[in-house]
């Protein structure tokens, strides 16, 4: 008996999506097509609610200032408060963690040569709460515990796609060595193409994004070799967040000889504020 990763979910985590949800704007013409793209996902999630979600996201100068910049940080606390990012905290439930599984993953993954930072106190920002809102709606409590897994994609250099894919494999090995029958999902968030800064702000590259989705599904090993500069040039300076999707993809068993995952849902929409929104659900 052991834990297993049953599915991976990928989604952008645009803060304006959280604002639209929190302010009741989801039926406005601007937002309706975006939220319509997640209706099927909410139904899928309601039927396939896991015991734990390991949620890969990036902190946006919220919990981590420039005092310390961990490349990979795993939250091992029992709970995580919702951060005030300057506009006041989102009106969403606090996040309940899973300290036992998180500590186990930390120990196993560090022993597989990844230098995780263990974090016992961390407020979580829109990078983590917007994906939960998109899949779970607006419950009074999140439907399952969540292990926050923060990746530095703000301060260059960020981890390579190859390292992210390999980390996903190590996480799967860690989960499968946990002696409890737990259904675990891994979520990779951020992206898709967007640039928030400078005279080139507003860049969107649908062709790049669609190719990324194709390659993530079918040829993740090749996709992992894509250099950082290609993401920045083609998908915008903040498009680099997409490397986090490779962590979740690396945790699918086909990377270690299993059958390919099943595509349950695929969605793409432009724009949400400054950003192209992409979304995938893969069952292991």
């Amino acid at each position: 008996m052991s834990a297993r990763i049953s599915a991976s979910v990928y989604t952008s985590h645009v803060p304006a999506i959280g604002v639209a949800l929190d302010m009741g704007k989801t039926d406005e013409p601007y937002w309706r097509p975006l939220f319509a793209g997640y209706e099927q996902s909410k139904a899928w999630f309601a039927e396939h609610t896991p015991d734990v979600i390991l949620l890969v996201f990036n902190d946006h100068a919220t919990a981590f200032s420039l005092e310390m910049i961990p490349t990979f940080a795993i939250g091992t606390a029992a709970s995580f408060d919702v951060a005030d990012e300057g506009w006041g905290p989102r009106p969403v439930p606090n996040v309940v963690g899973h300290p036992q599984l998180a500590s186990h993953i930390a120990q196993s993954v560090i022993q597989q040569d990844f230098d995780l930072t263990v974090v016992n106190r961390m407020d979580v920002d829109h990078g983590l709460t917007v994906p939960l809102s998109l899949l779970c709606g607006q419950p009074s409590a999140w439907p399952c515990p969540v292990i926050p897994f923060a990746v530095n994609v703000v301060h260059y250099p960020v981890p390579s796609g190859q390292r992210c894919l390999n980390l996903g494999r190590a996480i799967r090995a860690a989960v499968e060595s946990y002696d409890e029958d737990l259904n675990v999902q891994i979520w990779g968030t951020g992206g898709m193409s967007h640039q928030l800064q400078g005279p080139r702000a507003g860049l969107i590259n649908s062709e790049f994004d669609q190719a990324f989705l194709d390659d993530l599904i079918a040829t993740p090993t090749e996709l992992a070799t894509k250099p950082h500069v290609d993401y920045v040039r083609e998908a915008g300076s903040e498009g680099i967040e997409l490397v986090m999707w490779l962590i979740a993809r690396g945790a699918m068993s086909d990377l270690d000889g299993g059958p390919p995952p099943t595509v349950r849902h695929r969605f793409y929409h432009v724009p949400a504020s400054n950003t192209a929104v992409g979304h995938l659900i893969l069952e292991n």
Partner: protein, 135 residues
């Protein structure tokens, strides 16, 4: 041997690397202080005095007072930190982004609704040579 930085050849884009981070350390840490409501109030009541509490350069302080986001970025600011200034001013990310492009808020919003800025003509510095801004 110098570190290869191929991203320096992308127009209208500043990658927040270790060098920019070092240059902008206090500017960004000042921004982090605006995460606290009390500090936001103190900053708004007297910006210059509040800025003088931080060991920032004169150019950095002036860029903050001018709300010149492009200048702040060139002086080591990172957008996720600078966003705390925008939040203090009640601006959304889209308004902040628009302010850096030379477009009005409405023009920028319409550009996004029409599919955003194309990568074509916006990949290499040479493509922007002789232009003040991108089309």
């Amino acid at each position: 041997m110098a570190i290869d930085k191929p991203y320096l050849d992308i127009p209208g884009t500043t990658v927040f690397d270790a060098e920019q981070s070092r240059r902008g350390y206090w500017l960004n840490q000042f921004c982090m202080s605006l995460m606290k409501a009390d500090n936001r109030e103190r900053f708004k009541s007297d910006e210059a005095t509040y800025l003088d509490e931080w060991p920032m350069t004169r150019e950095q302080k002036q860029a903050v007072l001018d709300r010149d986001m492009n200048r702040m970025i060139s002086l080591g600011g990172n957008i996720y930190f600078l966003a705390k200034i925008g939040a203090t001013d009640g601006l959304s990310f889209q308004q902040m982004a628009a302010s850096m492009t030379g477009l009005t808020e409405e023009e920028y919003r319409n550009m996004m609704i029409s599919g955003g800025r194309s990568p074509n003509g916006n990949r290499y510095l040479s493509e922007w040579a002789g232009e003040g801004d991108s089309a």
